[in-house]
């Protein structure tokens, strides 16, 4: 491996590694971010109908 190859490899690898690390740091360090998160869940039509029926029943 030449010096040029080593330089390119180190620059490429460190760039994407730092970017990834910075992103993870940002995601984890923003206070209360998980509080903002809308439930990543979906209700299918049958579940919605069931929920409505339950609410009516209640």
């Amino acid at each position: 491996m030449t010096t040029g190859g080593l330089t390119i490899m180190l620059i490429s690898v460190s760039t994407v590694t730092l970017l990834f690390a910075w992103c993870i740091y940002k995601v984890l360090s923003i206070p209360g971010e998980t509080e903002h998160m809308h439930g990543f869940e979906m209700e299918t039509p049958d579940e919605k109908a069931q929920k409505k029926a339950d609410e009516k029943g209640a």
Partner: protein, 592 residues
């Protein structure tokens, strides 16, 4: 006192599986996989590290990131209007009846890609378990090639349809069932749950394999001193590529023909001594510099294509996932994080494992012509692991990490179809999963049974996994920049955002990105498909003209018929779905 405690428990439960990290891992999981570990190293080795990485990073900034941001934004926007399927998302953006048909066409991509990708997933599982139970001991390249042909049924139709360790069928049954069990559990309890543990495990396994590969040194110092990790890394990352060329008689007269790539000082000294013996009029060394490489349109096409396919943009998957977010949820940072996770896996892990390991055992000349995805992954690498101390264990780890990556990718390909059936036909989860599994079973059977020369897989991959993705990505970026409007799109993207999009991305998204995409698409069509400059028509086009054997032609037409049938079914369902008509009526009333 009891009441608040109850509420707290409920909230804690919700947070545990609806976190930002969960969404990011789900999107990253849709992209991270086989392409990172097998396709990327092959590409970079072919074009040389320096030049390829320049083009790669430019394509990432100009094409990959903007397309991801566009898909996240478009998806969340439509989700707020109540649409979670691709036809719904496109209808919500365009507010035109044709939107649902474009969306239905886009939906064909993940559906068809799943049909063949689940087969590749079963190969990864099969190789992983064969390694784990010590059933793979290859001594040469022929052994590896015979096992692969036998395992996949490459040599005859239905060749893999036996219940046996050395056949793909049992692993396909397990993989297919596992995918549908997970998708039946739903987005949060299935996809997100799986990605939350699979992605970190995948990264840990990759780091273990990387550690082993980088400490291989020179496995056979006496018989093959040039076959070592340093030369393997040099083969991939060196900015200049040196070739030995020989003068040969061709139809166009005497020409210098490339013989082999020279990597490492020993190889260079050997090549120079051969030139001295035979004379400089017969042999010579040539060097391709970074600037020489960057002048090749094919390099730009390869780098852009790698970014494009690696990030899984254009499938409509990201838009579907993002449609479950609200206005308050950040998408700019989430998109960047998911994208950077993919880049980290590709460059820092994939770029350092596959090719260096192969070169360490077989030398640069040993893997020449074997850098394509399947050849590298299922012929060269199993042989590498067979030659390595504790190779069964490391072979298992490597193929298992590929399996984990492919499961998360397959799950992401199922969700758009599930969302569409639920939205357009009002199906419940059982109905939508049941209907989609029946459709997928037929398609997967076609790919797995008609395995001869992997013709069905190749045909579906070309027409849907490549051609249609280019078309749909172009449509997505036009929808984002021109139909939704770049100012409105920016405003939408910044809702709840933890990061601001740089203003430079406005002209990039509106002009540069579509132009770049169209240029790549046209260049790919011209150079690779129609063979302009090489006079060689892509074999997928030649296949349509019946230039192959009767069996192969029959498989090609069966595959094309499958694509057309799925397209017809989705377009018909989308056309008749009342939910899209209601949305259009609502929009018309609002305008009045």
């Amino acid at each position: 006192m009891k009441k608040p405690k109850k509420k707290q428990t409920k909230k804690a439960l919700k947070e545990s599986w609806s976190s930002r990290i969960g969404v990011i891992l789900a999107v990253a999981g849709s992209a991270i996989g086989i392409g990172n570990f097998l396709r990327f190293p092959g590409q970079i080795a072919e074009f040389g590290g320096g030049a390829f990485m320049i083009a790669y990073f430019i394509a990432f900034l100009v094409l990959g990131l903007p397309l991801c941001w566009a898909e996240w934004t478009v998806g969340r926007y439509a989700g707020r209007l109540g649409f979670h399927s691709i036809p719904g998302i496109v209808t919500a953006i365009t507010k035109r009846p044709f939107g649902k048909y474009i969306g239905a066409l886009c939906l064909v991509i993940p559906t068809i890609v799943f049909m063949y990708f689940v087969c590749v997933q079963s190969w990864c599982l099969g190789y992983a378990l064969n390694f784990l139970f010590g059933k793979i001991h290859f001594t040469d390249a022929h052994d590896a090639a015979v096992f692969f042909a036998n395992f996949t049924g490459l040599e005859n139709i239905g060749g893999s349809f036996q219940i046996s360790w050395d056949k793909a069928l049992p692993f396909l049954i397990v993989a297919f069932t596992a995918n549908f069990i997970l998708i039946y559990r739903g987005v949060a309890k299935g996809i997100e749950w799986f990605c939350k543990f699979a992605m970190p495990i995948l990264l840990i396994l990759a780091l273990i394999v990387l550690g082993r590969v980088l400490t291989l040194g020179t496995p056979n110092p006496e018989s093959a001193p040039d076959a070592n990790i340093s030369n393997g890394l040099g083969f991939m990352w060196n900015p200049q590529k040196t070739f030995l060329e020989a003068k040969r008689e061709t139809t166009q007269g005497m020409q210098w023909i490339r013989q082999k790539e020279i990597v490492g000082e020993n190889a260079l000294i050997k090549a120079q001594s051969i030139i001295d013996q035979q004379g400089p009029e017969k042999l010579r060394l040539t060097t391709l510099t970074i600037s020489d490489q960057l002048k090749r349109p094919k390099l730009w096409l390869a780098a852009s294509g790698q970014i494009f396919f690696s990030l899984a943009v254009g499938f409509g998957i990201i838009a579907t996932y993002a449609s479950y977010l609200t206005r308050k949820d950040d998408i700019v940072l989430s998109a960047l994080t998911a994208t950077s996770a993919n880049e980290f896996t590709e460059v820092s892990l994939g770029g350092l494992i596959t090719i260096p390991a192969a070169v360490a055992f077989f030398g640069v000349s040993g893997i020449a012509g074997n850098t394509s995805l399947f050849s590298l992954g299922f012929n060269v690498l199993p042989l590498v692991f067979s030659s390595m101390p504790a190779g069964s264990f490391f072979g298992f780890l490597f193929f298992f990490l590929l399996f984990l990556g492919s499961v998360s990718a397959c799950l992401s390909m199922l969700q758009p179809g599930i969302a569409f059936l639920e939205e357009a036909l009002g199906f419940g989860r059982k109905g939508s999963v049941g209907t989609l599994s029946a459709l997928m079973l037929m398609g997967t059977f076609l790919v797995a049974y008609y395995s001869f020369n992997l013709k069905a897989l190749g045909t579906l991959d070309f027409w849907v996994g490549t051609f249609l993705i280019f078309v749909m990505s172009t449509i997505f970026i036009i929808l984002f920049g021109w139909v939704l409007g770049v100012d409105k799109a920016f405003e939408e993207a910044h809702q709840g955002s933890a990061l601001k999009l740089p203003k430079i991305y406005k002209p990039i998204l509106k002009y540069l990105c579509p132009l770049f995409l169209i240029t790549i698409f046209v260049s790919w069509l011209g150079m690779d498909v129609l063979g302009i400059g090489t006079d060689t028509l892509d074999h997928h086009i030649a296949d349509l003209m019946g230039q192959e054997s009767h069996t192969e032609t029959m498989i090609v037409f069966a595959s094309i018929a499958t694509i057309l049938l799925v397209t017809f079914a989705f377009i018909t369902i989308a056309g008749k779905a009342s939910i899209y008509k209601k949305e259009l009526k609502k929009h018309a009333c609002t305008n009045k």
